[in-house]
Amino acid sequence: MWTPENIKKTVTDNRIVLFVKGTKEQPMCGFSHRAIQVMNMVGEPFEVVNIFDDPAIRPALIEFSNWPTTPQLFVDGELIGGSDIVLEMYESGELQTKIAAGSGADSAPGNDS
């Protein structure tokens, strides 16, 4: 049974996690497919969680991230965004920079200060 705590553990134990509909090999939604393609182009290994594996994953994920849709990309435990943001950040190079920065530099740039 997935809970928001399981989601938190998943995105903490794995540096890059993509929650999608379907699998890496067989995405079951165009948006999930697009996000997987982008992450494949980035080239860094990433963990994929198929929200259809368990009906409890989706509500737990939404509660944890306060983000209503799938896919959702997490890097260093932080929600980066859905497929639009992921693609936009890939095109601008921000995504590659963030991923290359390593897990030591996990603070978001100056939104809270």
């Binding site: 948006f31 306060n66 983000w67 209503p68 849709t69 929600l79 980066i80 965004g81 859905g82 497929s83 639009d84 943001i85 936009e88 950040m89 978001a108 939104n111």
Partner: protein, 77 residues
């Protein structure tokens, strides 16, 4: 009840004052939309926060009648 593009535009404009909003119905079936929003209210906010503002404007519609949206936000130059 399905929303029209102008209803979606109105919801976002009411929720984010001063926003410039463009909405396109991608499939002609009133459930897949392309939404572009430009607003000074986005200044200093992360993309996640900007998108959340747009999602909030759509409220329950996003989890009921709307199957998918693609959102692009920007701060006007």
């Amino acid at each position: 009840m399905l929303l029209t593009t102008s209803e979606i535009q109105k919801l976002i404009e009411e929720s984010i004052p001063g926003a410039s909003v463009e909405v396109a119905d991608l499939t002609g079936t009133s459930d897949h939309f392309d939404i572009r929003v430009s607003s000074a209210a986005f200044a200093g906010k992360s993309r996640i926060e900007q998108h959340k503002m747009v999602q909030a404007a759509l409220g329950e519609h996003l989890t009921t009648t709307i199957h998918a949206v693609q959102i692009k936000t920007q701060v006007p130059e």
